[in-house]
C-alpha cells in the first residue's frame, strides 16, 4: 500500500511494441505518467497515437516490454496481483455491445462481483447500488439489444462500479455513441468523480477535455503535451499540428485575438466566452 499523497497509478518509462507482418510497430516509446487519487485525467490523441495501448496498461491487459506499471504499489507484470489490480482499476470499452455478456441487465451488473466470489447478499446490495447511481434501475430486466447505446454504456459502467474500483478508465467510451448517449456517459462519469472515483478518460473529442483536471496529449507513441485544459487550448496551432480539434469557442476566441481583439482568457465553454466578450472594454 502506498501513501495517500503518492500517485495511485505510476507508468514509468514504458515502451510497447507489436510484431506485425513486415516488422515491429512501436505503439509507445518511453512514456511516463502518473495518475493521482481523485483526479480526472484525460488522455487525448489522434488514431495511431498509442492511446488505446496506453489504456490497456492501466489494468494489465497489456504488459510493457520495457518499463513498469504500478497500481497502488502493485506491478501489473505480477501474475498473482493481476486480479486484485483489476478490482482497483475498472475499465469500460468503446463498443457498447461487446462488453455486455449477460442476457438481462441485472445479471450483467452482477457479473463482476460474482467473479470476485462474493456472497449473494453482498452481490445484490452492490448491484442495486450501482444501478441506482447510474440511473438504470428501470432497465433491470431488459435485454441488452433493447437498450440504446448510452444505456448500454451505463450498464457497462454499473457493472464495473459494482466491483467498487478506485479508478474508472473510459477507453473511448463515447466514440460510438450519439450526442445524447455521449452526454449520458459524461454525466455519469462526472457524478462518479464527485463521489471520489478517479477518472481516466481516453478520447479524441476535444470537447470532453473541459471536464478534466489534467490533460495528456499523445502523438506517435510519445507524450507530446501535458497540462491543464486551459493551458492546452491556449495553443491551438500546436493542437492542430498534433491533428487534434479545437473546440469552437476556443477557435473563435483565438481568431478574434489574431485580429487584435483579446477577450482576456482562454474560454472552454460558450458561457465563458460570452461573459468575457461582453465584459471587454471598448
Amino acid at each position: 500500500m502506498i501513501g495517500a499523497a503518492d500517485p495511485l497509478i505510476r507508468i514509468d518509462s514504458v515502451s510497447v511494441a507489436y510484431q506485425v507482418p513486415g516488422g515491429r510497430v512501436r505503439a509507445l516509446s518511453d512514456v511516463s505518467l502518473d495518475v493521482h487519487r481523485g483526479e480526472w485525467l484525460t488522455v487525448i490523441g489522434h488514431n495511431g497515437s498509442g492511446k488505446s495501448t496506453l489504456a490497456k496498461l492501466f489494468n494489465g491487459l497489456v504488459i510493457p516490454g520495457r518499463g513498469t506499471v504500478t497500481v497502488d504499489g502493485l506491478s501489473t507484470a505480477d501474475d498473482e496481483q493481476r486480479k486484485h489490480i483489476r478490482q482497483i482499476v475498472g475499465m469500460v470499452f468503446q463498443d457498447p455491445d461487446n462488453q455486455l455478456v449477460a442476457t438481462v441487465v441485472e445479471e450483467d451488473v452482477a457479473f463482476g462481483p460474482e467473479n470476485l466470489g462474493l456472497p449473494r447478499a453482498e452481490i445484490a446490495r452492490r448491484v442495486d447500488d450501482a444501478m441506482r447511481r447510474l440511473e438504470i434501475e428501470d432497465l433491470r430486466l431488459r435485454a441488452p439489444h433493447q437498450l440504446s447505446g448510452g444505456q448500454k454504456m451505463r450498464v457497462a459502467i454499473a457493472g464495473v462500479l459494482a466491483m467498487q474500483p478506485a479508478v474508472l478508465v473510459l477507453d473511448e467510451s463515447t466514440a460510438m455513441l450519439d450526442p445524447s448517449g455521449r452526454a449520458e456517459v459524461l454525466r455519469a462519469a462526472q457524478a462518479l468523480h464527485r463521489d471520489g472515483v478517479t477518472i481516466v478518460a481516453i478520447t479524441h473529442f476535444m470537447t470532453e477535455v473541459t471536464f478534466a483536471d489534467r490533460v495528456i496529449v499523445l502523438a506517435d507513441g510519445e507524450v507530446a503535451l501535458a497540462g491543464d485544459p486551459r493551458a492546452l487550448f491556449a495553443r491551438p496551432e500546436r493542437l492542430r499540428e498534433l491533428e487534434l480539434d479545437v473546440p469552437q469557442v476556443t477557435e473563435i476566441a483565438a481568431r478574434l485575438r489574431a485580429r487584435g481583439m483579446d477577450v482576456g482568457l482562454v474560454p472552454l465553454t460558450v458561457a465563458e466566452l460570452a461573459d468575457a466578450f461582453v465584459r471587454m472594454p471598448r
Binding site: 489522434h46 488514431n47 495511431g48 440504446s148 447505446g149 466514440a175 460510438m176 450519439d178 450526442p179 445524447s180 448517449g181 479524441h204 476535444m206 491533428e243 487534434l244 480539434d245 473546440p247 469552437q248 469557442v249 477557435e251 473563435i252 481568431r255 478574434l256 485580429r259 481583439m261 460558450v270 458561457a271 466566452l273 460570452a274 461573459d275 466578450f277 461582453v278 471587454m280 471598448r282
Partner: protein, 289 residues
C-alpha cells in the same frame, strides 16, 4: 418548378407489422430532394431518420403514403428497386463493417461487377471512385482490406458505393467514430464530390456543426414525423424548438444566442465559426446596446 428527384409525401411505415411486437416508425413523414442539392436530415435516435432514407433506394417500401424516386413510384408492387440502387447510393453508418473482399480493389469492384460492367469499365469506375475518396488506385488497389486504418476502411466502403456512379448519395452519420483528421478529410471528399460532379448529397447527421457547414436545407424528424423543414439558417434559428427535440444547434449559433441574451446586438444568422467571428468583430465597432 424543378422536377424533384426524390419526393416523399405523408409516408407511414411500421416495423414487424402484423406481429405482437409491431411499432410505428414513420407517421406521415415528408421529404423532397432536387438534383444537385445538399440536404441534411436531423432527429434524435428513434425519430425514423434511418427508416426514411431506406425508402430512397427501395430497401423499404411505403406502407402508406407515397415515395417517388426518379419518377418511379415505389408504392407500386411491380416497381423494381434494383435499378434505383444504381442512381441512389446509400452509405450506412459504420460502412466499413460491410467490407468483405480481402483486396481493396476487388471489394470496390463488387458494385460495378454486379451492374454487369465489362473489365475495362469496372477498372475505370474503381479508379475513379478511389481517386475521389483520396485512396490512390495503384497504391491501394492490392492492399489487404482488413489491414487498413479505420478512416481508410471507411473510404473504401464509400468508394464501393461511388463506383456505382449514383446521382444521389445518401450518407447515414458518415463521420461517426472518426477522429478529427479523418472527419475533416471525409467531409472534404464529399463536398468535392458535390462541387465537381453535381452529385446530390443527403446527410443524416447528429453533428450540428457539420450540418451547418455543408447543407443548404434541413429536415428535422421527430417521432416519425417531419417537424421542421427549410433553409439551414431558418431551421437553426429555432434554437429552443431544437433543444426541446433533443437536438442542439451549432456551437457558434449557441454562442450568438448567449451573446444576445447578454444584451449584445449581433447582426444576421450565425452558423459557423466564421459567422461568429465576423458578427462579434462588427458588433464591437458599433456602440454597445
Amino acid at each position: 418548378m424543378t422536377e424533384h428527384v426524390i419526393e416523399v409525401r405523408d409516408l407511414w411505415h411500421w416495423y414487424l407489422r402484423g406481429t405482437p411486437l409491431e411499432s410505428v416508425a414513420l407517421r406521415g413523414a415528408s421529404f423532397t430532394l432536387a438534383a444537385g442539392e445538399i440536404v441534411g436530415i436531423m432527429g434524435h435516435t428513434g425519430s425514423g431518420k434511418s427508416t426514411l432514407v431506406q425508402h430512397f433506394n427501395g430497401l423499404l417500401r411505403p406502407h402508406q403514403g407515397s415515395v417517388r424516386v426518379f419518377g418511379t413510384d415505389l408504392g407500386d408492387r411491380r416497381a423494381d428497386p434494383r435499378s434505383l440502387r444504381r442512381r441512389v447510393g446509400l452509405v450506412f453508418q459504420f460502412p466499413e463493417q460491410q467490407l468483405f473482399d480481402p483486396t481493396v480493389g476487388d471489394d470496390i469492384a463488387f458494385g460495378p461487377r454486379k451492374l454487369g460492367c465489362d473489365r475495362a469499365e469496372v477498372r475505370r469506375r474503381v479508379t475513379d471512385a478511389m481517386t475521389a475518396v483520396g485512396l490512390p488506385f495503384e497504391t491501394f488497389k492490392d492492399r489487404y482490406t482488413f489491414g487498413l486504418s479505420g478512416g481508410e476502411m471507411r473510404k473504401v466502403a464509400v468508394a464501393g458505393v461511388l463506383a456505382l456512379e449514383p446521382e444521389v448519395l445518401v450518407l447515414d452519420e458518415p463521420t461517426a467514430g472518426l477522429d478529427p483528421r479523418a472527419r475533416r478529410d471525409l467531409l472534404t471528399v464529399l463536398r468535392t464530390l458535390h462541387d465537381e460532379r453535381g452529385t446530390a448529397l443527403v446527410f443524416v447527421s447528429h453533428n450540428m456543426d457539420e450540418v451547418a457547414e455543408l447543407v443548404t436545407r434541413v429536415d428535422v424528424l421527430a417521432d416519425g414525423r417531419t417537424v421542421l423543414s427549410g433553409p439551414v439558417r431558418d431551421v437553426f434559428r429555432e434554437g429552443d424548438r431544437l433543444r426541446e427535440l433533443g437536438l442542439g444547434v451549432p456551437a457558434a449559433t449557441e454562442l450568438a444566442g448567449a451573446l444576445r441574451d447578454r444584451g449584445l446586438d449581433l447582426r444576421g444568422d450565425v452558423l459557423t465559426i466564421d459567422d461568429a467571428v465576423e458578427a462579434m468583430w462588427t458588433s464591437s465597432s458599433s456602440p454597445a446596446a
